[in-house]
Symmetry: C2
Subunit: 464 residues, 2 copies
């Protein structure tokens, strides 16, 4: 009798305590299996090599993007996903063209000098010989707004660097990127005829970093990013020669809409197949470099979650769905299309969604987000898995945000996760020609895949 009572008490303790549940030896062992397999038998690195070296950069809607969609779909099929399909959507299409030039004209100090530059996505073009005008340097949108029409017929130079004192470079990026994303449009509204923006990077080299700028209904003006050192040089010269002029040339253009595809693959759940756990990244990249960290790494990590489940024979209770989103870089139409599909698919519940879109560096944890009603005990529950995850360097489990594409599922009540890799090097490569395969470390990439798989395993097993 006493024994039975003890068993009942123990069982009720287990039921009442998700912590105790999650701390079983089985979980510790399974998570160890996941990481050991990711570090020795993962396909992520070779998939990434193919994406980077055989396909290369892949702007949403480009032929290379279609090749990447077909390749990843084939790999997902080969690894044993139950279903694989391509979800088509229309995406805007912008061409970089052949010319991007920012030249200091006739400086009293240095004469003519070309600066390191690259056109921003959706920049307008210049006439063939470019636009030559004086420069107005500003450090913020507010400063531009204060100047107002004084920038008319001038070139606005946004020159506020990312704040190096932020330990997370994503905060530094978030604190500066308004200059790139909104600056050119506002400058155009005040009559500026072109715009140059200090690159969003903390690396003190001269590699320019592209990225999207948004004109909405305003007629695009030419908008280019300058390398870090070029921005420094221009600012120094302007301090001495306020009437300095720039010549800006670019022949970029906009094409008709193109078709791109979300790549979607499921391992069907054994008990609750209608409850979906999404793992994703975005398959498109900017049209330079190889889209290695942004976001080839996230895609192959998401694919590898399915791969690791298959290799280890883990049969999930819920459906694990890999979604490789189209067109994150220039409009998020892939994520929007998928979220619309999820909303309209009344038979499915989007239980959780994890994305890796912060680079292929050593993982340190996950950020989490959900609408307040959906959160309930979810975040607290995740904290209780912390002990299992810390041996793999995953100590940082904080609510606050997730990632761009899965963020579109927030309103469905989905619990969202963004993988948090070490951020120090990400903006060295982000949207630049240096975002290539060689700058991704195999083990760091694999640990990220393991982190995603381990979190999916725990979510699937215990729920929130």
């Amino acid at each position: 009798m006493k024994n039975i009572l003890q068993k009942i008490l123990f069982a009720s303790f287990l039921l009442a305590s998700p912590f105790a549940q999650a701390q079983t030896d089985e979980d510790v062992e399974k998570v160890a299996d996941i990481f050991e397999t990711s570090l020795t038998k993962s396909s992520a690195y070779e998939w990434l090599r193919y994406l980077c070296k055989n396909i290369g950069h892949r702007l949403g809607g480009s032929p290379a993007y279609t090749a990447a969609a077909n390749y990843t779909a084939q790999m997902l099929d080969t690894l044993g996903a139950d279903t694989v399909w391509l979800q088509p959507l229309k995406v805007p299409y912008w061409n970089r063209g052949q010319v991007a030039k920012v030249r200091i004209v006739n400086s009293q100090t240095i004469g003519n000098q070309d600066l390191s530059c690259i056109a921003l996505g959706f920049s307008g073009a210049t006439p063939r010989l470019g636009i030559t005008a004086e420069i107005v340097e500003v450090k913020s949108i507010a400063e531009l707004e204060k100047l107002g029409n004084k920038v008319k017929n001038k070139i606005v130079f946004f020159n506020r660097p990312m704040d190096a004192t932020k330990v997370s470079t994503f905060y530094a990026y978030g604190g500066a990127v308004d200059q790139r994303s909104s600056g050119p449009r506002l400058a155009a509204e005040f009559g500026a005829i072109a715009c140059v923006v200090r690159s969003m990077t903390l690396k003190q080299d001269d590699v320019p970093h592209s990225g999207m700028t948004v004109f909405n209904n305003v007629k695009p003006i030419p908008a280019l990013a300058l390398g870090y050192q070029s921005a420094d040089l221009l600012a120094e010269l302007l301090a001495q020669e306020p009437n300095l002029r720039l010549n800006v040339q670019t022949d970029c253009s906009t094409s008709p809409e193109q078709t791109a595809y979300n790549v979607i693959a499921d391992i069907r759940g054994s008990e609750r197949p209608n409850e979906i756990i999404v793992v994703g990244g975005h398959l498109d990249s900017w049209d330079i470099g190889e889209g290695a960290h942004d976001d080839g790494a996230g895609c192959v990590q998401a694919m590898d979650v399915l791969n690791l489940f298959k290799r280890l024979g883990i049969r999930p209770r819920r459906t694990i769905r890999c979604v490789l989103f189209a067109n994150e870089e220039n409009g998020m139409y892939g994520a929007t299309t998928y979220a619309e599909y999820a909303k309209n698919n009344k038979k499915e519940i989007h239980y959780a969604a994890l994305e890796s879109d912060a680079g292929g560096h050593s993982p340190r944890g996950f950020s989490m987000d959900a609408v307040p009603d959906a959160q309930k005990n979810a975040f607290a529950k995740v904290q209780k898995w912390r002990e299992i995850l810390v041996p793999y360097g995953l100590y940082d489990l904080q609510a606050g945000s997730s990632a761009a594409d899965v963020g579109k599922l927030r309103e469905l009540g989905t619990i969202l996760f963004g993988l948090k890799p070490d951020s120090q090097r990400y903006f060295d490569f982000h949207h630049a020609k240096t975002d290539i395969f060689e700058n991704v470390n195999k083990r760091e990439l694999e640990l990220g895949a393991g982190a995603m798989a381990a979190m999916v395993y725990l979510i699937d097993k215990y729920g929130f």
Copy 2:
């Protein structure tokens, strides 16, 4: 009365609780100041550039080592250390020579084939045309011992890879390095005439990694490391052609002892100047690459602790001493000499010692060590500073080990700390020609310096 009682109670609570003490706003702000300054005004990166690019690799006892000692002493003087001196010592000196060659001879499959190789430190030389012999592949010292004299007149090939399933690559290294450090000596004792060892790396390229091998009183035989891919190739061929032969050539040699120097600089303590907190790294490197991660990074981080204290006007209670150790790589004579000095200097107590010798990557915490009698509450006390340190990524504070040079102070009862950077990339570069300045990220390096300075600040303020 009630108020006074409350104040007394609160004060006694503060006295009783080191946790409450350490959680003052002042500490949080000071640590924030330290990291902000390290990320914006540190000299570490420029010092490292000079060490790597103007001086280059610096084997203990070489002219380059002396140049590095003079340069770092000058920098420590310039930053405002109260005392700077060079502590001379004698070090053994080994010359790599001009030739290092491992050739597969007359394979039935591929004919002759040179393998990627590098001599191990203290390798013996071969005759001018080398040594040609059959190969005995072993995976462990135990396997060699079992074979015993069967390896006589043969070349022993140690081929156990580092274990990729270890999340910390230092554990993977620790589990394989006996092959390099002891293998050649044991092979020589059993009559082997040369030795080749798979490089201690997890990177699947073909860059060979050097490092010390210890012959003690045994006559050195030629001992070379093979690149990862070369080791794979050799193992594959041997499986098909067990009688395969290698030709090994190297003209390395041993010189008379040379003089090297520990570089020692103090900021004198204001209250307890005889209590010493050492911060260090080792200034010597292997004679290839630039000694950037191993251990230029650790040296400039240790120097930067003094620099950050000076720049922030933090007057330490105890003496903060930067020690750049000579000759870690080939005998630890610098650490031994310093420990002897510390032991004999009866006026000084070596209160704590921190070393950075695990690469210049993003810091994740500290490992700690001390003789049992000395530990008392020290490790528990450090845990209580964790909340202040976690925002800078320093979550991993575990007892167990420290670092090689400061380890020699253990018997003095010193509390020892080793900085723990992310370990994934370290053995990509370790003891190889790829350990160059370009492979060190400025911010990662600076965060490590900040981590060292923050820990020194807390130790100095609160003690153990």
